[in-house]
Subunit: 260 residues, 2 copies
Amino acid sequence: MKKPLILVTNDDGITAPGIKNLIDVARQIGEVVVVAPDSPQSGMGHAITIHHPLRLKESKIFGPDIPAYECSGTPVDCVKLAKNVLLKDREVDLCVSGINHGSNSSINIIYSGTLSAAMEASLEGIPSIGFSLLDFSYHADFEQAKPYIKQLMEYVLDKGIGDGNLLNVNIPNIPFEEIKGMKVCRQANARWVEEFEEKLDPHGQKYYWLTGKFVNKDEGHDTDVWALDNGYISVVPSMHDLTNYKAIPMLSDIETVPTP
Amino acid sequence: MKKPLILVTNDDGITAPGIKNLIDVARQIGEVVVVAPDSPQSGMGHAITIHHPLRLKESKIFGPDIPAYECSGTPVDCVKLAKNVLLKDREVDLCVSGINHGSNSSINIIYSGTLSAAMEASLEGIPSIGFSLLDFSYHADFEQAKPYIKQLMEYVLDKGIGDGNLLNVNIPNIPFEEIKGMKVCRQANARWVEEFEEKLDPHGQKYYWLTGKFVNKDEGHDTDVWALDNGYISVVPSMHDLTNYKAIPMLSDIETVPTP
């Protein structure tokens, strides 16, 4: 049987330990091509590069057997270039993004470059998974996550997840034997509460650092935040349709407002 | 009655004609505060600035009566700074973003800085609307849109649109008398097909410009693309929950995969 073609990307940049660990798993399953940002791109969301040209540079960072490219753009740019330039004559069977250093549960999906890359792949018709480990450290230990990551890749390659869909997978930072399994869940209704740090530069001008804390008031036991807090790996099937279908009938009186 | 407080932002930057036109309408209804990027931020999606500090600079561009600030960050940064620094002791009644020069219908919502700013406001609990006119030109004529924009602002201030919701409003580029009215609809299932332009720099190195065409294969008459093609202003109630609820039961067998 032909090996599946797996595109690997991330948002922490091509030198981050997380992507190295993801490649370790992906190469056990398929043929791997890596296209990842040449610098950290956390928090880039679904940004694309319109006003500058983009560059791709071959990299041997993962050894002679793994074709790898570093890209000057955002995670979404990486996926667009991979699909439409580097791999334009081939079918990509799976895109995996990560392993992100830190959580992408709940609302983080819209700020996350990791998940936006996976979403872009899903828009291109490529089944895709974004992986995150709840440990921001550069020296995070990804070992406990690997067997689950392999299972999920095999599951998606085998069964598919439907057009335009992706999986947002978060892994708790606990030892392997304490992980209770995987839970398919919804995105918790949580958000960031910002607290900007105000400083003065040497010229007496103010500037601000974005900081904040994650606040979850969603008490459901069917959410990703609950699953992670309770020792599960959270798997949220996600998509790109932001329509609030429930609100459509509620707003129908907008249509009957008389013409100005 | 106290005038409502309206936060105005955009992604084309504080000097774009679109935001000037939006302010013209907003000041008829309420007290206006403007926080907008100091440079064009199209395609920034939901990007936030983590690795650099942010700056705010007061601007008199809209005259002495309109407090306005230009921000060194993304559209989402603008909203976060407005809510948490400039207006932290006040309640913002409405956030309007735009008027964007060009369409933000369908999948454009995830790439658009205009809509991401509106979504950020909605996450902060502020009812919000993103406005776009289907004309990329700097000299676009926003006049035909203004009566509808005013109606929509009044509607949202009067009735609300529920927590965490925003309206994605697109306005066709046709004369006022040809606009048939407003249609509440869903986001069309369309996407961009990329065609990168490959060039060589003076050193013989390749670089790529992102270009693409918008392809809509969604034939529904209940979509924003259909509404715009047929002379309506499209109003899509949108939200930040990307969970694909239909897929949750379909994927439940992931949970029963035996522990590795």
